[in-house]
Structures are given as structure tokens and as C-alpha cells.
Symmetry: C2
Subunit: 192 residues, 2 copies
């Protein structure tokens, strides 16, 4: 399983945001919902082996599990509706669930996964030995990680890894990591 944990420093943990002004009313939840698409959706389908966690303002967590997700659409508004409904009802539905808590709660759920934290200037992901089974990547939002989250992630054993010379949007970082993982998987499958 591949896991992406996107840590939203300012993202609202309530459903009280406007779909018509997502960036202006949600603490930039738009950044996080775009990450759902990048992590889970490919041409003509859902990546069934991917789980996404959005950590909202340190107090609530939305989890989307590709294995059971249904009706996920790629456009930002539809994804925001999905998150809004989950936050409003608190119910688990179609692969989307909500829990109280912050980064510690997510870390406790990741079990034996190999942990990575995306960090500018860290050793390049190309040439890094990614795990053949479970990898979990921690991704900052447009402001980067807050220090307590970064410390908790590193204390849990996450290794810093970089994606190249330019600092890109969170969702692009996820696209680049996914491509690297796809290549590693394919290369393993080719090796007798």
C-alpha cells in the first residue's frame, strides 16, 4: 500500500466553507483536495492500493481509501463536496472516513510502513531504495510543515527525501512520487 499524508497547517476541520470560494474560506483546503486527485486518480480509474490522509489544522483527519472509494471525481469542486459531506456527517462512506486527532493519530495507524518525509534539499528520491511493500509519504501544504509535525514525523523514523531542484506544489509532488513508485514496481516486476 502507498500512503500519502498531507499535513494542512491552516485547513479548516469543519464543513463551514464555501464551494464557490474554497481558497478564501477553507484555510486553503483547496491545496489538500487537489492532493486527493493526484494520489488516487489515474486515467480511467482509481489507484486501489493508495490511501490518503488529510490532516486538517492539526485537529481532524480525513482518510480516503482507494480500495473502497467510489464516485471520486477529479475536479476540485467535487472533491471538496466529498470532504465537506464527510466533515458534516462524520460518517464513513464510500471509502471516506473522518477521525479526530492530528499527526500522532495518523502515525499510529501506519503500522510497519516505511516512512518518508518530502523535504527540499534532502537526498533525491531517484536512487533511494523505496520499500517494495508499504511506503508512506508525508507531504507539506503550501506553507510547508509546522515544526511540531515535522518533529513528530522524524521522531517516528521518517527519512527525508527530495524530488529535484524546484519546489513544487503538494499535488505535483505526489504525482512525481507516484511516478517513481510506478517505475520501481514495474522494474521489480521485470526482474526475474
Amino acid at each position: 500500500v502507498r500512503t500519502f499524508v498531507v499535513v494542512g497547517r491552516t485547513a479548516t476541520a469543519t464543513p463551514d466553507f464555501l464551494l464557490d470560494d474554497l481558497p478564501g474560506t477553507s484555510g486553503r483546503l483547496d491545496v489538500l483536495v487537489r492532493c486527493i486527485r493526484a494520489a488516487l486518480l489515474v486515467s480511467h480509474g482509481v489507484r486501489r492500493d493508495v490511501v490518503v490522509y488529510l490532516v486538517l489544522g492539526g485537529s481532524r483527519i480525513v482518510r480516503i481509501d482507494g480500495a473502497t472509494a467510489q464516485f471520486l471525481r477529479p475536479d476540485e469542486r467535487s472533491l471538496a463536496v466529498t470532504v465537506k459531506k464527510a466533515l458534516a456527517t462524520g460518517e464513513s462512506k464510500r471509502g471516506v472516513s473522518v477521525a479526530d486527532g492530528g499527526i500522532d493519530v495518523v502515525l499510529a495507524e501506519l503500522g510497519g510502513a516505511t516512512l518518508w518525509i518530502l523535504d527540499e534539499g534532502a537526498p533525491d528520491i531517484r536512487g533511494t531504495a523505496l520499500a517494495s511493500t508499504d511506503n508512506a509519504f508525508f507531504v507539506g501544504d503550501h506553507l510547508g510543515f509546522d515544526e511540531p509535525s515535522r518533529k513528530a514525523i522524524l521522531a517516528a523514523g521518517a527519512q527525508p527525501v527530495g524530488l529535484g531542484p524546484v519546489s513544487v506544489h503538494s499535488e505535483d509532488a505526489i504525482a512525481i512520487v507516484s511516478n517513481e513508485l510506478d517505475r520501481c514496481q514495474a522494474s521489480r516486476a521485470d526482474t526475474p
Copy 2:
């Protein structure tokens, strides 16, 4: 200069779409506006050396030039507003311009750029000798290229190039290509 040309098979060439239902009313213009973000925006800024063309239903072209673009926001709705205004007024403004025509008009504008067409199963972009100056990438939408466009692009000398084993969304493809170009540039800068 890096150029991305996104060919929208069904995307509307008129401003008569609803911002509240972009996928359902615009012929999937949502796919194309997300490509604007992936091509032009990075953390805390605009890529000034990037130009994006959106080819809308074969009959109209929107061009966004990073060198002069202003007030570009990353969220899908804001980008859709930008395209809507450009289509409604036909005016060039803040780096965004509109022209009548299809892929031929774009090809005629690309001058001496080295042309690439993203194609599943084509030789891998890693290990491909990208130009050190001007590269232009043709990107299909969610339906892939229509045959006349593909033929015109290939006839203009575009070389097919692939991005790995999984077929990804157009915007993710642009993120992956941009990362490759960033790495090539940095590696050239390091070579004495």
C-alpha cells in the same frame, strides 16, 4: 522556453459554461484548466519560462504566457474564470490571449522548438536527450489525441516520448515532464 500544448477534444471554445459545474457543462474544460496550474505554478511563484496552449475543440486556442501572466491562482475555479473571461472578451490581458484555429495554428507558432508528443509506450523521457533550449510537449486530454491532431503533430516532427508504466492524468503528466526538465537544467548548470 518550455511549451505545453494541451489538446482538448471536447473542450468548449465558448464562455458559456457554468463555474459551478465545470466538468458537466464545458466538455471537460476542467482537465485543461488544471493543466495551466501544473505547467505554470510552483511554490510561491510562476514559471516565467513556460507557455501553455489550450486547444479547445479544434477551433479556438487559449495561450497563457508565464513571462507576463499576472494574478494566476492555483485553484480550478479561479483558472476557469480566467479562461472564461478570455473567451468572452477575446482580448489579450495579463499574459492570457485567445486566437481562432486549431493545432495547425499552434504548430506554426512554435518556431524552432524541439517537439515531443506524450504517448504511452513510447521511449522513456528518462534517458531521452531533451533540448537545452526550447522544448514543446503535446499533451492529450482525458480522451487522448484525436487522429488528425496526432497526425499533424507527428508530421511536424514531434518525437513520441513516454513517462512510465501507468497512464496518468494530463496535469500529472505535465508535473512529471516539468520535473524532468528541471533536473536536466540543473544538471547542465552543474556541468562545467
